[in-house]
């Protein structure tokens, strides 16, 4: 059963463009993490959001947690080739971490 839905599955855009990817659940998130995984490497934690409506910024990345804590978005401004990777969201469910399948992002130079 897919508990976390990430969309889109794939995204390929030109350098300099803006983009948004999404993570949704039918259940309320305990808290939500976003990870980025570069090719051939393990995922690296980018941010954790906890409070409904919370917005966190990490340079050109803006993370938003929905008011109802059932959805989250990651917005990247002026994408760069270094942003290429697999973006994963994760939630704590039943004392285990559940990962979405990810959005594979490719930034074209």
């Amino acid at each position: 059963t897919q508990l976390l839905e990430q969309s889109p599955q794939f995204l390929s855009i030109q350098e300099g463009e803006n983009l948004t990817v999404y993570c949704n659940s039918s259940s309320v998130f305990s808290s939500l993490q976003w990870y980025r995984q570069e090719p051939g490497e393990g995922p690296v934690l980018l941010v954790t959001v906890v409070t409904g409506g919370e917005v966190k910024k990490l340079k050109r990345l803006t993370f938003q947690f929905g008011d109802a804590r059932k959805d989250s978005s990651l917005h990247i401004t002026a994408a760069q080739p270094g942003d290429t990777g697999l973006y994963l969201c994760a939630d704590d469910r039943d004392d285990k971490i559940i990962f979405g399948k990810g959005t594979r992002l490719h930034i074209l130079p």
């Binding site: 051939g40 393990g42 934690l45 971490i97 399948k101 990810g102």
Partner: protein, 114 residues
């Protein structure tokens, strides 16, 4: 910074071999995890451990076992490797209670079973 290291980046084994994947973390984390990652299936939890000599089954434990004799080391064992165990294996660690779960990953071991 937390460092999680895995014994091999790439590994090729034959069907039926016993395979050991080693993971070491240097931040005194209580919790350690083994995942496999496959295209279209995402990250799937194989086993995890929240203390030395403790282990818990994840979502796909069949065909695998684990060992945690020391706090910093968590080993994944494929008793008799099969081709469907060809995958990327990722180890992770985290601090504190299971609900305090920010995970730090190793670089992964890409295992090919022929």
């Amino acid at each position: 910074d937390v460092k999680v290291t895995q014994s091999s980046r790439y590994l090729v084994k034959r069907t039926g071999e016993k395979v050991f994947l080693e993971c070491v973390q240097d931040m005194d984390h209580e919790n350690m995890f083994w995942y496999r990652q496959d295209p279209g299936l995402g990250l799937r939890l194989i086993y995890f451990s929240y203390d030395v000599k403790m282990k818990e089954k994840g979502d796909i434990p069949e065909g695998y076992s684990v060992s945690r004799e020391k706090k910093e080391r968590f080993s994944l064992i494929l008793e008799s490797a099969s081709t469907n165990q060809t995958s990327m294996y990722l180890c992770a660690s985290s601090f504190g209670e299971m609900s305090s779960y920010e995970q730090y990953f190793g670089p992964g071991t890409r295992l090919t079973v022929t």
